[in-house]
């Protein structure tokens, strides 16, 4: 067995050790250790991805001395290290870009704890990507919930406390629903590991026994993960949580964490339940409708938002609707588009949060739109970044946002009754995106008023460089999507096997 195959385990363990280390060492070391950890994690996930790509394989890695139905396992195909790489890169850039705000928003005595929670968030996301066991999934979901509550509540002042309470209530309902689903699944199959579970579920479904309990279990697990990733009717917590946190936390919460749950959902659907049974249970239609509802309703909310960060957060909820719509299409191509949307949103949203918070810094920390008028002139790099992000969100060709929309639209023509709702939702959501994102992008470049109280700020390299890296990724994905699409196609094919 190649040493590369142990890298998922090593990256998880390194994260845990780093979290323990940050807990006891002084805060400067915490920051350095976390940055190193994120960098190492990027390298390791990249290596595993390369290994799996070259060998065109997915492999199970035994966690201990006992084989599959008895011991724990982790599984790496193309999707898992790919998502791990994406999450590590985005977290690294967010943490660098939001570093100045962390120093400002987080009390001195709590900074090392902030780094601990960042490390634990990374670990839980990696474990959620790689896990091959449904109960391990639950445990790491809980770590992710608690760590993200820490990320959110660490900010002094503001409404972050109320946002945390709201977030926790929703998140705990989500994890409880997921756990009930796990219990029902275990009760009727007696298995917890994905491969065995999939066989048992397929056998049960074919035999027709316990079909009602199985359907309920599938529904509960899906609903739990949907609540946690802020799917449409349960997105009430999301705008508050994402807009009240400190910048780096906002980037991590909306760029990465909600996607972690979506990836786990994809894994459970395709690896644990099996696509056929999931589609037969009818849950995908609900996901499709909820996704469409989210795309439209949250975009309308975003139009009425009066503060920049709240608008970006509502747009997150709308973009998550796309992901669920893709999963709900129930086809391999739909899933490809959903994964493309995950990648697109993960690189674009942190860029918007980073540049948005710099623009508000250039307006004395104000977030309301009248104050932001002309902010692009006061901080040119942030203005450029925000414009790129906004244009990409609208879906202009040559930028990343266009690619998933194209694939969604293409796939929609292959569908049955879902075709017209999907196309209509895409069109409406694009128009709404134009309304709020282009409006903002224009607003920040308007000439400043004569009596403007705000002065230009000197941009710091550590603030805009991560944004430019994300923008580079965005443009690269938009101009030359071929390799990425091919990779995701292969990953989706490996997932169902």
């Amino acid at each position: 067995m190649s040493i590369v195959q142990s890298f998922p385990l090593f990256s998880i363990v390194l994260g845990l050790l780093c979290a323990i280390g940050c807990f006891v060492v002084p805060k400067q070391w915490g920051r350095r250790m976390t940055l190193l950890l994120l960098l190492a994690s990027c390298v390791m996930q990249g290596w595993v991805l390369r290994f799996c790509y070259v060998n065109q394989t997915s492999y199970a890695y035994m966690m201990g001395h006992y084989p599959a139905p008895w011991g724990n396992e982790i599984m790496a195909g193309l999707l898992e290290p790919g998502m791990g790489l994406l999450f590590s890169v985005v977290m690294l850039l967010s943490v660098i870009g939001g570093g100045r705000h962390i120093g400002h928003d987080v009390a001195d005595g709590k900074q090392h704890l902030y780094w601990v929670t960042v490390d634990l968030t990374l670990v839980s996301l990696l474990a959620m990507c790689y896990t091959n066991d449904i109960f391990t999934g639950y445990v790491f979901i809980e770590i992710c919930t608690i760590a993200s509550c820490g990320l959110l509540a660490v900010r002094e002042g503001g409404r972050s406390l109320i946002a945390s309470v709201r977030y926790m209530v929703f998140a705990l309902i989500g994890s409880s629903l997921f756990l009930i689903g796990v219990v029902f699944t275990y009760a009727i199959t007696g298995q917890l590991l994905f491969p065995q579970l999939r066989q048992a579920v397929a056998a049960l479904w074919a035999a027709g026994t316990y079909r009602f309990a199985m359907t309920v279990a599938i529904g509960l697990m899906t609903a739990g993960l949907a609540v946690k990733s802020g799917c449409f009717p349960f997105h009430g917590w999301l705008p508050d949580a994402h807009s009240q946190a400190t910048t780096a936390s906002s980037c991590i919460l909306s760029g990465v964490i909600v996607k972690g749950y979506a990836v786990l959902l994809i894994k459970i659907i395709y690896r644990a339940i099996g696509a056929e049974v999931f589609m037969a249970s009818g849950a995908q239609h609900v996901l499709l409708l909820l996704g469409i509802g989210g795309m439209v309703a949250c975009s309308i909310d975003a139009i009425f938002a009066k503060r920049l960060k709240v608008m970006i957060a509502f747009s997150s909820a709308a973009q998550i609707g796309y992901i669920f719509m893709g999963i709900g299409m129930g086809t391999a191509a739909g899933l490809t588009a959903a994964v493309l949307q995950i990648v697109n949103h993960a690189v674009t949203k942190p860029m918007l949060f980073l540049s948005g918070s710099q623009l508000s810094d250039a307006s004395h920390g104000r977030m309301d739109f009248p104050s932001l008028r002309g902010a692009g002139h006061r901080n040119v790099p942030a203005g450029i970044l925000f414009t790129i992000g906004a244009v990409s969100m609208v879906g202009v060709p040559l930028l990343a946002g266009f690619i998933p929309k194209l694939y969604f639209a293409r796939e929609a023509f292959a569908l049955g009754w879902q075709r017209w709702p999907v196309l209509l939702a895409l069109a409406v959501s694009t128009v709404l995106n134009v309304l709020y994102f282009l409006y903002t992008a224009v607003l920040i470049w308007l000439p400043q008023e004569a009596d403007c109280r705000f002065t230009a700020v000197k941009p710091h390299w550590d603030e805009f460089l991560p944004g430019f890296v994300l923008a580079g990724l965005n443009v690269a994905m938009g101009i030359h999507p071929g390799p990425l699409v091919a990779l995701i196609d292969k990953a989706v094919a490996l997932l169902g096997r």
Binding site: V13, V139, C149
Partner: protein, 296 residues
């Protein structure tokens, strides 16, 4: 100046109740940045909120009723309670029960299950505790600001009470011994790291309650708690990584199950139980101290 003047005049006219000000001064004041002063059209927003809220509650109530009916029906659809032929009693359970003792060396099948067969879950579980400890510290730690804790209105000096004091002197060692027993016998009898650690922490909590937080703070140092927790977790991670790595690569592991039934047996399970117990003990005691006095 004009302000104080007018206040003085009002006082002269008997309109100001000085004792009222004294009373408000006693109340702990929330920190300045957090206080909140709404200004705009309060009544309307109040009404809109109430209206939309009522609709929302009704909707959620209907959803809940539907959800629980469905759950009850699903529970009726499950395999019969106590059935030995249920799908859960399959080859997985067979092996845990039949070969568990020889493979893990643990007489207690649950300990063997959570610390050897499915150790990755349990590793995650200890880190759930650790994450919660960090989050609680973030929330409760008073940091530099040191805003005062609310005054104790019902403060009881347990230390001055001879009965409580003497009884606790007797009972704390007993609890400690029981906790250690549960901890180190985790692979032989019911119990193990989690319950043993909670029992140990209860002894520490009683000590802090009776002898006072300040004294407990002096005896059990913050640094010691943090380092113990970090060391125990570190040991857990490192030793389990060794066992995961050797297992996955088919390497020979130096850890052997030993003779089942002996106290020093079951390979890693005993040290892991001790490590988990220390983590749980430190975490629970830290929770207590944070809730009690806002710092360790």
């Amino acid at each position: 100046m004009a302000n104080s003047d007018s206040a003085f005049r009002r006082w002269l006219r008997g309109e100001v109740d000085l004792s009222a000000e004294l009373r408000t001064a006693e109340m702990p004041v929330p920190p300045e940045e957090a206080r909140y002063h709404p200004r705009h059209h309060t009544a309307m927003i109040h009404m809109i909120f109430r209206q939309s809220h009522r609709f929302y509650v009704a909707l959620v109530a209907v959803l809940c009723v539907v959800l629980f009916t469905v759950l009850l029906l699903a529970a009726a659809n499950l395999p019969a309670y106590g059935d030995s032929e249920a799908p859960t009693n399959n080859e997985v359970t067979e092996r845990y029960v039949n070969r568990g003792v020889e493979e893990t060396g643990a007489v207690n099948a649950v300990a063997g299950l959570i610390l050897d067969y499915r150790a990755f879950d349990t590793l995650g579980e200890s880190f759930v505790l650790f994450t919660a400890l960090c989050a609680v510290t973030i929330l409760m730690s008073r940091g530099r600001r040191k805003h005062p804790l609310p005054m104790e209105t019902d403060y009881a000096d347990y230390y001055a009470d001879p009965i409580v004091h003497t009884m606790c002197k007797v009972i704390i060692p007993v609890i400690l011994v029981f906790g250690v027993y549960v901890l180190v016998n985790g692979h032989l009898s019911p119990g193990g790291g989690f319950s043993g650690g909670a029992i140990l922490s209860s002894a520490l909590i009683i000590y802090a309650m009776v002898w006072g937080d300040e004294r407990a703070h002096g005896t059990i140092r913050e640094r010691a708690i943090r380092r113990t927790a970090a060391l125990a977790l570190g040991f857990y991670v490192v030793s389990k990584t060794y066992s995961f790595y050797t297992g996955a690569n088919g390497l020979h592991s130096v850890i052997s199950p030993g003779v089942p039934g002996r106290i020093f047996s079951a390979g890693l399970i005993l040290p892991l139980n001790v490590a988990v117990g220390l983590v749980v003990c430190c975490t629970m005691y830290s929770f207590y101290m944070f809730f009690r006095r806002g710092e360790l």
